[in-house]
């Protein structure tokens, strides 16, 4: 069984993102970039399936600048077999990402696609569902547990109010929650070894997908700031403030 894992290069989750003063976007110059944490969980899950004997190949796909090769190398160092980079310097919206991934699915014919539920830059939470839709495949988003049993993926999903378990007939798309697993640490030697594994660089133009953005970003602004609060000395003072000043009790 082959698993395909789409991964995105994003601003590292520890970076405190700042909005540019001219409101054209967020500051990305000299900012640390990493694999989207949800995608890292997806890579780990795919590798665990190989280790459990339920899968035998893990192919990573990324769409982004030349530097996204680092993101793919990171995933290969974790244990994936190879990577495909669809190169572009443009910002590609989830709908176009899904269309590009659909073409890779036709080429690679994976039995399962696992990807992060959302990217932590645009927070869209769309790509997995859109890919499943275009392929007319079943989907299970927000995976908390994943088990392959014969022709089915049994997925426990995190939903409002609790958990839902569904069984999808493969091929299918699964998107991950962070609680699905703990991604492994990548050592320097494994990173060095990953450099020898295949990484196929492809020009985005060859896919003939319309990548023209549908959304025009008019401006990017910082969120409203909260006014500075106060520290109270006693619980009695706190309750008094909540009752008589804030009037929320």
């Amino acid at each position: 069984m082959k698993i395909m894992v789409p991964v995105k290069r994003v601003v590292d989750y520890n970076v405190n993102v700042r909005v540019k003063s001219d409101e054209t976007g967020v500051e990305l110059a000299n900012v640390k970039m990493s694999m989207n944490p949800f995608d890292e969980t997806a890579v780990e899950e795919a590798i665990q399936q190989v280790e459990a004997g339920t899968a035998d190949e893990v192919v990573l796909v990324s769409i982004g600048p030349s530097k996204a090769q680092e993101t793919l190398r990171h995933g290969i160092a974790m244990g994936a077999d190879r990577g495909i980079l669809i190169e572009t310097d443009d910002i590609i919206e989830p709908l176009s990402v899904a269309k590009l991934l659909q073409k890779i699915v036709y080429e690679e014919k994976p039995d399962l696609v696992i990807t992060g539920k959302q990217a932590i830059d645009d927070d869209c939470n769309q790509t997995g569902q859109m890919l499943a839709s275009l392929l007319n495949w079943p989907q299970a988003t927000f995976a908390f547990k994943l088990k392959i049993e014969g022709e089915e993926a049994i997925v426990t999903r995190e939903v409002d109010g609790g958990l839902q378990t569904v069984a999808l007939t493969l091929p299918a798309v699964v998107t991950t929650e962070l609680r699905l697993n703990e991604p492994r640490y990548v050592s320097l030697p494994s990173l060095m070894k990953a450099k020898k594994k295949p990484l196929d660089r492809r020009d985005i133009a060859e896919f003939e997908v319309d990548i023209h953005p549908r959304l025009e970003v008019l401006k990017t602004t910082p969120p409203a700031r909260r006014a500075y609060g106060i520290k109270v000395k006693t619980v009695a003072e706190l309750v008094d403030k909540l009752r008589n000043e804030a009037r929320v009790l």
Binding site: V17, P94, M130, P138, G162, V166, L218, I230, L238, A246
Partner: protein, 313 residues
């Protein structure tokens, strides 16, 4: 030229997040149709669907829709969506799961987590966990969007009649099946719409302590319970209690953070609360930077005192 809302209900009432989505839609000043599915939908449509702006309830009652599976629900929504200028759903797990599947079939780029509708084609939505807000104009002919409901009030009931229409659609065989569900049935207010939220973090130290300290305070205030990611990952509470970038986004009137240091991740999920109270032993904890009222102290001492003080009423 109207609006379709993919509604959610509990077999009796529309969910609070659906009511807030109606409010978001009202600003577009177009007729609103609500799609309801599942066995209890008919009762909701007959008795509890009269809200300002809502002109029609569309009922899809096929048994295949009863278990909340994605594929049949997506088929119904897609069959209807073609006829609407706007398709909306709350940013619930159901809405987030379903709507991109609909958008892709319409060849539309979805707008996720809309916090403000500026005009017929321009909206505002958070990116980078709320550290930036984008104002975006869509060039698509149809707009598909999930609504972050914490920023909108629930819609008002009216006496106006609502047209109820059963719809049929072509079912096919689906490649997913329902296995099981563990839904916690609770008398507590729903986390994403509660007026008061009491949240616990790492400092609680165990599930026992979480139950012993956070629950009674929440009971006292008739509050929903939240938790930081660390608390949930450590098993102090179920997954869907998590407030934050990767969990639920809440904006109650009062948010009480107990033993939560205030990681960016958590703050992203609660910083729009009206009043924030922080209880923490570490006076330098980042949570105090956004708290309206902070109290530096051991939560195991402060919470019981707080309950006693609230009892004095």
């Amino acid at each position: 030229m109207s609006i379709l809302i993919i509604g959610e209900h509990d077999n009796e009432f529309l969910t609070d997040s659906t009511l807030r989505t109606i409010t978001a839609a009202l600003s577009l000043k177009l007729p609103i149709d609500i799609l309801l599915t599942g066995s209890g939908a008919e009762a909701v449509a007959q008795s509890n669907a009269r809200y300002q702006g809502v002109s029609r309830v569309l009922l899809a009652l096929n048994p295949s829709l009863n278990q909340g599976l994605t594929e049949p629900l997506a088929d119904v929504a897609i069959s209807l969506a073609k006829n609407y200028r706007y398709v909306m759903a709350p940013s619930s797990t159901t809405g987030k799961n379903l709507l991109p599947r609909v958008a892709a079939q319409l060849n539309v780029m979805q707008l996720s987590d809309v916090i403000e509708i500026v005009s017929h084609d321009t909206l505002r939505r958070p990116i980078y966990a709320g550290n930036a807000i984008q104002t975006v104009r869509s060039r698509d002919e149809q707009l598909v969007m999930t609504i972050r409901t914490s920023g909108f009030e629930p819609a008002e009931r009216t006496d106006q009649d609502v047209e109820v229409e059963s719809i049929s659609w072509s079912e096919r065989s689906y490649r997913s099946r329902f296995v099981s569900e563990e839904i916690v049935d609770s008398d507590r207010p729903e986390l994403s719409s509660a007026r008061i939220v009491v949240s616990g973090g790492r400092a609680l130290g165990s599930k026992e302590k979480f139950d012993q300290f956070i629950l009674p305070l929440a009971d006292k205030l008739n509050a929903a319970i939240g938790a930081s990611r660390v608390a949930v990952d450590s098993g102090y509470g179920p997954n869907d209690w998590q407030v934050g970038q990767t969990g639920k986004v809440v904006a109650p009137d009062l948010y009480i953070a107990c033993g939560i240091s205030g990681a960016i991740q958590h703050i992203a999920g609660m910083k729009d609360s009206e009043i924030i109270v922080a209880i923490n032993k570490d006076e330098d904890a980042p949570i105090f930077q956004i708290a309206d009222y902070g109290i530096v102290g051991d939560l195991f001492e402060v919470i019981p005192l707080l309950i006693t003080e609230l009892d004095k009423g």
